[in-house]
């Protein structure tokens, strides 16, 4: 009787695999929905024309639906954000993992975690009222709402991602490696730079990929701060409109079923595919780390 009871699964246990599949089902659902809503746009524009077309005038007749300038804008702000966030995030991670006393560490880690929760719309708001005027003054620009300001703020948002994951990777390095380095006569700094960081590189790499993916997908900040100009940005100091901002900003006005409407979904599909690739890459490197 007892064994019988032990083997039998109750109702909840039976449906657990179904419940666990919910995430996967929604991921596939998102993919299918985006593909279905994107396809009609290719009646108005070729795939090549869509990806590499230089003009985005969705309300013209006939509409120009090339997203190249928007992709370039996404590229600018994302790369800018990572250039800004990588040294600061990695430096913070090394400080917390290697230099901070246990007491300081106990304060810094939760503080970073709490700050990581500041909503993106608050960052965007701060960008408009505080950072943009400063950027405008320093660089003598027509407007402070430009790619550079967006990159700085995105960078600030990405720092906790890079910092906390890198810190985990660095803290996971075994004491043996450290001691071996000291035994060879290296001081603490040389040990950090030449032994610990190289050993933690797959974790650090993963954190950078996830940082890039977060910056690329971030919407509200770039919508509020990047300036919104629809042309191929001349430099990082030009006002620009990344893909996420375009979707968020134009969906409200796009007529349901119009080429514009479907083009915005297609842009969402482009973002989705890029982010999935980044995440699978990060996943792959993390798995590699676990096997070491």
């Amino acid at each position: 009787m007892a064994t019988h009871q032990g083997m039998r699964k109750n109702f909840i246990e039976r449906i657990l695999p179904l419940i666990a599949s919910v995430s996967l089902v929604f991921l596939l659902g998102i993919a299918v929905t985006l593909i279905a809503a994107s396809l009609p746009v290719f009646k108005s524009v070729s795939l090549q024309g869509f990806l590499f077309g230089k003009e985005w005038i969705p309300t013209a007749e006939p509409p120009s639906l090339g997203i190249w300038s928007l992709m370039v804008a996404s590229f600018y702000v994302t790369v800018g954000a990572v250039v800004f966030a990588l040294p600061l995030g990695l430096g913070s991670a090394v400080y917390i993992a290697e230099l901070a006393s246990p007491r300081v560490k106990e304060i810094l880690k939760p503080v970073m975690e709490i700050l990581a929760g500041i909503p993106s719309v608050v960052f965007g708001f701060f960008g408009i009222v505080f950072v943009a005027p400063i950027v405008q003054k320093i660089f003598h620009l027509d407007t402070g709402l430009c790619g550079f300001t967006a990159a700085v703020i995105l960078g600030l948002m990405v720092i906790p991602t890079i910092s906390s994951m890198s810190e985990d990777a660095i803290s996971a390095i075994s004491k043996d490696l450290r001691n071996a380095s000291y035994a060879l006569g290296a001081n603490r700094w040389e040990t950090i730079v030449k032994a610990i960081i190289p050993a933690a590189k797959s974790g650090i790499f993963t954190s950078i990929i996830l940082g890039i993916s977060r910056a690329l997908g971030e919407t509200m900040t770039v919508l509020m701060v990047a300036g919104g100009a629809v042309k191929i940005p001349g430099s990082i100091f030009s006002p620009m409109r990344p893909m996420t901002a375009t979707i968020a900003g134009e969906m409200g006005e796009a007529v349901t079923g119009s080429p514009h409407y479907h083009a915005l979904f297609a842009m969402g599909l482009v973002l989705f595919v890029i982010n999935i690739i980044f995440n699978l890459t990060a996943d792959y490197f993390q798995k590699g780390k676990r096997n070491v």
Binding site: G6, N10, E13, L16, P17, I19, A20, V22, S23, L24, F26, L27, L28, I30, T33, L34, A36, A37, G89, G91, S92, V94, Y95, E98, L99, L108, I114, G117, I118, P119, S120, V121, V122, F125, F126, I128, V129, L156, N187, W189, S213, L216, G217, E218, T219, M220, M224, T244, I247, A248, M251, G252, G268, L271, F272, N275, I276, F278, N279, D283
Partner: protein, 294 residues
């Protein structure tokens, strides 16, 4: 520190100089990060606290948004977060239970895990697009509390799964073995032994994800939020105002004097709300770790 550097230079010990310079650089990094975020909080606090009053928190907007309060937005954000939890909490915890305790087919588990990790990386605006197409249009929920709650629920699902799984795994194997040895079934062991012993970890994850849901804007932009509605939501099919969307709308729609001030007040309310939620979550985790009996 500078003394040490000068001393080192005097001794012409270049390696020590390098080390001191390197450490200084690291300290500078963490200082810049903490300082930037500190300035953000301080600046919004200084400009926002004058706006906040009892009326601001309890009244509806008046005079085309430049008078009155933001109560409907606070209520909307509260309802959206609760709605998201109603969907994501049971789904997330049960997924974690399955992953840690029941899953036995490695290929299937791998697929589910890739699914969860990928879902965590989907940009928030893409969740919005999906919600618009699926919940608003296909399911015909309309732009509503219900659509927004589902979208936010899917968005926080990976966080809840991750936190719950981590919490379940910290319960010592001995607890489980003792329970099974006493004749309890796997399910009894799970809900009488493992879940109660991991509840603080799960709560931490859940609260953190509520903070995330409360602050998200892009997913509710097309699925739930409206800049202004005269009446409070009276069903799950009502459009709602929400704090994050309110800030965005105040800064981008219309150009009446006073909008920016209200936006400062709203931003401060949202900021304090999210920081408080996250602080409570992390406090619970620290307390629980100290009180742990094993």
């Amino acid at each position: 520190m500078f003394d040490a550097m000068i001393k080192a230079v005097n001794k012409r010990d270049r390696r020590t100089v390098m080390q001191e310079a390197g450490f200084l650089l690291l300290k500078l990094c963490i200082l810049i990060v903490i300082l930037s975020l500190g300035i953000l909080i301080f600046y919004i606090f200084m400009r926002g606290y004058k706006v906040i009053s009892f009326d601001f928190l309890t009244q509806s907007p008046r005079e085309g948004m430049v008078e009155g309060g933001i109560f409907p937005a606070i209520l909307g954000t509260f309802l959206l977060s609760i709605g998201a939890l109603i969907f994501a909490l049971p789904t997330g915890v049960l997924t974690a239970v399955w992953l840690t305790e029941y899953a036995d087919n490695p290929k299937f588990v791998r697929m589910i895990r890739v699914g969860i990790n990928s879902l965590a990386g989907v940009p928030s605006i893409v969740f919005g697009l999906f919600g618009l197409m699926f919940f608003v249009k296909f399911m015909q929920f309309g732009v509503s509390l219900l659509s927004g709650s589902f979208v936010l629920g899917i968005l926080i699902l990976p966080t809840i799964i991750g936190a719950s799984e981590e919490a379940l795994l910290t319960v010592p194997k001995g607890f489980k073995e003792a329970s099974l040895a006493l004749g309890a079934t796997r399910w009894e062991t799970m809900y009488k032994i493992i879940l109660p012993n991991s509840v603080s970890g799960i709560i931490t994850g859940v609260i953190l994800s509520v903070g995330r849901a409360a602050g998200e804007t892009a997913p509710i932009l097309m699925t739930a939020a409206t800049f202004y509605t005269a009446k409070l939501p009276n069903s799950v099919f009502s459009k709602v105002m929400a704090l994050p969307y309110h800030i965005y709308a105040l800064m981008t729609e219309g150009s009446k004097k006073g909008q920016t001030e209200i936006a400062f007040g709203t931003a401060l309310v949202l900021l304090l709300l999210v920081l408080a939620i996250n602080s409570i979550a992390i406090y619970i985790r620290i307390k629980a770790r100290r009180a742990r009996k094993w």
